[in-house]
Symmetry: D2
Amino acid sequence: VGTRLTDAGPFAHLWGTDEVRAVLDDDGRLRAWLTILSALADAQAEIGIVPREAADAIAAITPDRLDHELIAAETRRTSHSTLGLIKAMQRALPDEAAEYVYYGITVQDLTDTWVALVIRDVGGVVWRDLRAIEESLLVLAVAHRSTVMPGRTHGQPGAPITFGMKVASWVDEIRRHLERLAEGRSRWLVGQLGGAVGTLGFFGQEGPRLRRLFCERLGLADPGIAWLTSRDRIAEFGLVLAMISSTLARIGGEVYELQRSEIGELREPSDPDTVGSITMPHKRNPERSEHLDTLSRLVRANAGVLLEAMVQAHERDGRGWKTEWVALPEVCLLTSTALRLGVEIVAGLEVDVDAMRRNVDAGDGYLASERVLAQLSGELGKHTAQALLQETLAAGRDGRRSLIDALAASGAMDADSAAALVADPAIVTAESAVDVTVERCRAARAKEPDRWT
Amino acid sequence: VGTRLTDAGPFAHLWGTDEVRAVLDDDGRLRAWLTILSALADAQAEIGIVPREAADAIAAITPDRLDHELIAAETRRTSHSTLGLIKAMQRALPDEAAEYVYYGITVQDLTDTWVALVIRDVGGVVWRDLRAIEESLLVLAVAHRSTVMPGRTHGQPGAPITFGMKVASWVDEIRRHLERLAEGRSRWLVGQLGGAVGTLGFFGQEGPRLRRLFCERLGLADPGIAWLTSRDRIAEFGLVLAMISSTLARIGGEVYELQRSEIGELREPSDPDTVGSITMPHKRNPERSEHLDTLSRLVRANAGVLLEAMVQAHERDGRGWKTEWVALPEVCLLTSTALRLGVEIVAGLEVDVDAMRRNVDAGDGYLASERVLAQLSGELGKHTAQALLQETLAAGRDGRRSLIDALAASGAMDADSAAALVADPAIVTAESAVDVTVERCRAARAKEPDRWT
Amino acid sequence: VGTRLTDAGPFAHLWGTDEVRAVLDDDGRLRAWLTILSALADAQAEIGIVPREAADAIAAITPDRLDHELIAAETRRTSHSTLGLIKAMQRALPDEAAEYVYYGITVQDLTDTWVALVIRDVGGVVWRDLRAIEESLLVLAVAHRSTVMPGRTHGQPGAPITFGMKVASWVDEIRRHLERLAEGRSRWLVGQLGGAVGTLGFFGQEGPRLRRLFCERLGLADPGIAWLTSRDRIAEFGLVLAMISSTLARIGGEVYELQRSEIGELREPSDPDTVGSITMPHKRNPERSEHLDTLSRLVRANAGVLLEAMVQAHERDGRGWKTEWVALPEVCLLTSTALRLGVEIVAGLEVDVDAMRRNVDAGDGYLASERVLAQLSGELGKHTAQALLQETLAAGRDGRRSLIDALAASGAMDADSAAALVADPAIVTAESAVDVTVERCRAARAKEPDRWT
Amino acid sequence: VGTRLTDAGPFAHLWGTDEVRAVLDDDGRLRAWLTILSALADAQAEIGIVPREAADAIAAITPDRLDHELIAAETRRTSHSTLGLIKAMQRALPDEAAEYVYYGITVQDLTDTWVALVIRDVGGVVWRDLRAIEESLLVLAVAHRSTVMPGRTHGQPGAPITFGMKVASWVDEIRRHLERLAEGRSRWLVGQLGGAVGTLGFFGQEGPRLRRLFCERLGLADPGIAWLTSRDRIAEFGLVLAMISSTLARIGGEVYELQRSEIGELREPSDPDTVGSITMPHKRNPERSEHLDTLSRLVRANAGVLLEAMVQAHERDGRGWKTEWVALPEVCLLTSTALRLGVEIVAGLEVDVDAMRRNVDAGDGYLASERVLAQLSGELGKHTAQALLQETLAAGRDGRRSLIDALAASGAMDADSAAALVADPAIVTAESAVDVTVERCRAARAKEPDRWT
């Protein structure tokens, strides 16, 4: 049983997806570690460092053949991270192979190489889900290219925008994350083989060749040099995921606010079984959107730990390194959950076009103030017009008059001209933003693979 | 099976103690929740809100009588944090009691009250372990009141100190944490009963009385007002634990550095079964000390999340609140582990008095430069002496001459006078610091309870 | 000219108050440093370490008598933090006193003691402003003890609360901060005198007495032991300020959201000269409230740096210590600004009681769902009633019927009974919360001083 | 006078370089803003939105023609970030041009475009200094390709490495930062022109064209869509700088530790005028190296603020945006200082090859344990050999015998064989790592420009 509520039965789904859990949990980790140790033995057999038969025997070990209790007990007894595993593997091997498992390498060779495999697997999920979100958003942006709604600045209604433009701004950001993933991949997917201090001293002359063969077998790049205390790769991957989570929190926050009953422009999809509140049975809460914010905070905190972990000393430094054991999986699990929620939200987002229109109209014309200013600027000069309007519109709002009435009453503009400006949301640039963004994303999608690796 | 490596079989002991896990894990949480719901029903029975028989039936439920699969399944299905539990409890109750479980309250009433119980339990562990560390340190400080060793500033040997003074500085800090725990207790150990929005509207006139009776039964204070979005209590507790973890990391860091082979003044206790390295069989690593730094980073990051969670909106705000579900247990588990390591390290710390002496002597007399400066200041004036020594000692060090030779050669001081200063470590204030600190701690200990609550 | 925009002419007022700037700026710092050095010389004269005349001459130095260019130039040339100051002071002193300035101490003795004085001054501002905010909030809570408005959970309207209860929740939190300030004071207001490595080796036997006399002259407590690398005091003060800033951000966030045009329940005070937007002349933005959030983020980040700085090595460690030079002033300046804004906002907060009422009514009765549930729970059992209402009210909302109609149509409750529940906001506990909180704060205020020190 | 010590006379050089200050200070900012407003007017004149003469007049304004007091006073009076500037510019313009300055745009159009220019300028400095550091390190790596020194893991001496390999690991990391800068550039160097809410409503049909022309004039890319609340660009730049600072802190930390008197392998360059300590005149502190750690902590904290600022609401959100005003300059100033220190340290680093050798020898042969293990693994099997050596070497160390004696005494290996292993540092892979890394960096350098833009 997990201690962390993040792993506990009833709540675990909020803090990790099954898919990424399968990469990171005891079983997934063990499988990957066996794969790595098998690749090592295979490379060593090719060079002649271990017998071919030993390598084959090692390759044949599966998690179910290991004594998991022994692994845990020996790990605790020896305070050594992998000696328990080694002993369990030795027991599962024929005598003539038992000495050749985990031959000449150090813990970080295993765990860091595993990190690269984790990044490969999790990065693939992130890539796929980000692209799914992008696809939904592209469709949404096009559909609402000209759907007028209030723009809002500092929490207050401003000039109209289109919902399509808002969505395009999201997708524009997501596309940059896809770029970052594409660019970072070659830095992240590298193996680690350094031995005790990075010199592979155990292997003498064969060190560089062994590392190359080892990495090849795992589909990872050969780093050319040990990175035992050079951790920017991990920090960078964590930070990219933190940026992605933050973008999702931005989208979630928008939905959360625009779903307020008093606004009612958006509504996240909800499941009929969902119970919003057991004390207030009428509630429909933007739970998924809200959770995106929760997740992003935790991801950022953990990514910060990864960043701090870059400052390491000498040839191995457990202080920062061991924080990665906790923080990197956390970043992966939480971000994957955020992505799953993001996929669901954008795919099922309910857009209330009428409410958007209503909210523009509820502005009593004041949302046209930018246009009125533009108009009067031509006549009076911009800053003169601004000062005049500043006063006129304040008086109008205080007197609860509409913009049209306020302008007409002040003599600043006749009612017909004002009405014409109020009627025109001036969304040409918004529509252009949709067009440009959609085209850019479509072009990028056409040229890139569906799968990250 | 846990996903997080922090909960996984072989490594879980590095990231939580069994004792605090028992408070926080599925089982511990469920037990505590049942206790809370029983206290609620009991208080409600006293007022006449629910039948006494129902309250008794609720009090009789134990975790083993609940269908844990149902809890998880219904939690997921309804997206409601406690509806699964409610359904399972209803099944475990006779029909006439089933409607009276979890009567009229909201999730946070349960989870926040649980947080207070967690703080009570974990705070008790922290108090106990901090005091155990204090006791060991007091003994150590007294034992080494006059043990001379190099002081070090900016990583470079400076004037001599005593090891007792170094230890006294640790214990002085720990004593302040005990003060903080004592002061914060009354702010932290309060129940939560607010209902939907903090008004206990479900209970009409009986709200305040019900809350009082509920809190009484749990040994918690009545807050007088709901704190559904007022989260400074949790943030403060988390931050105090983060400060404690940081102090432990400071102590650990000191041991880690002074255990360097090149220095060799301290050595953390080690278990004979411990294997430092499987590639370098001669290694003895300061693993526990090192891990204190690792833990403190993670605690700080999570405490930062709790601090951020203070900024909440309206009457319930899942964005910050739900981060507490993850960050508070994390802070508790990691700090408890750090305390356990701290207890072990200070209880078994090996102090190499000879190495300390050797390292002072290895300074070739230069560690007496503060004393030499004081002496010459009386003759030449302080700043004149400083400028003179600045030059003389630089030349001496560059020429690999001892301080005594350098002074004598320059004519600044005769060799005998210099030798007398080198021989006197000038540790009166250091010894006084030990005395004052030990006395202060002893006096505080005499007046305070062994147990936090 | 300042480089940081936080110090630059047009924007500096957003990031610091004149009052706290005067404590922290070049001039304030220099004045305080001279005071400290004068207290040192005076204490040294009493013991006979320096001549009384020298102490008097040192006491007579004022900032205008120092060559500020020389200070800066020598600081840079020597890479020593205070050697520039020493040289400038020596020049300003008669020859017979020049050697006795800054006699035998180290940089941290000066800067850490200064930190204690800064905490004293800034703490006093914080105490005063927090209490002013408390006073305004107490008045507001009483005035709106029974002012009904929608409670909101997860951003959605829920059962009614009173605005007084909301305010009481703020003031309850602020009162706890005042407690924290009162409790922490004795830990924070202590001098530092350690010399090179904390042993005051320069002063031989006189160390402890000199430290006592020095601290006395400055009105600070004698720590009994150097705290050169024991930094929990500073971290704690910073964290308390970060908690305070976060509470202010919570209040600001509430105003920001409730000032949305679509909600309109609160409005922060605004100055007639304020220009909300030069492109949208109708805008009235909640600028001050918004800025509280901005400030709190920066304060939290800097307080986190102070927390991290607790992990220091040996007897002096510039790595963490020097971060305090930046982060502590930042925390002080930003928090003081937040407090000033807080004072203004709560003193001039406009409460639109009609809008609150309107927003309750706009809920079409659904805000009474907790009361309806309570009523039906008595008849059907709580969970049965909840399930029934869950369905009924969903159908009602989808059909855009009022709660009363929905209940009546479904047969769950007759219209008159439902109407009676809708009419009763059930705010007894809310009113009680106001009473309890106000009484508690008033009682605390009556017993405590107006000034922090 | 600056308030922040980071800007104050004597200490400012520790927290910013003159070069980057010139970009960011009042004067630099004002110059850049005038450039931007001139580019805007010019683009508007081309389209016919403003008269050509007005654009020319605006282009002719220089900072000295503006009333800086007026700017500050009006900024404060109106609470508007740029209205003070507008008024001052209007005063400096002929009447017929005065209305055309800052025509139709919003604050963020100015400040965000400025951010892009800041990133361009600061990014150029970072690029140049990183490459200078890389160059020094490449030379150092080659020079010390085979210089043997102790590897150290967990703070304890392990198998030998070469100093060249250590340096290669640094340069490898720096090269990746250069890649990141090259890749990010196109995302960062984009203009902003959105008007009130991103639709450029003021300009009707002309919006997209105006934005394009505006960006062209400044040498920035046209984003195609407003990014008023899409802040990943800024966060990413800040995070890359935080990673760079962390790498520099890693290098600094290595120098700091290896400069310990007890180790003495490295020494940072020092200036003869530097005074390490005024109480201990013999001190030579690794001040620059130490400061790299200090700076990196502050940079990380501020970069974290930028990351958090990605979560913004609607079309403008001062809460996160305004934190960028503080955090981005801070990140730039501190990182530039770190880079300057880094350039100095690596250019003048003193390497004590003899001390390195001595420290290897001081290991009494135990640093060869990886080699011994390899040798015995061939004979006994790896894990059997490890267990044997674990015991033998522990006994040897406890008995203060050399590795050779311990092995010989135990019969595990004869003295001659052991001596041969001790004599061979097994650095083939280390040398290869130097070769590979240097070649990779040299190849990259040959293909890239000296200047970033």
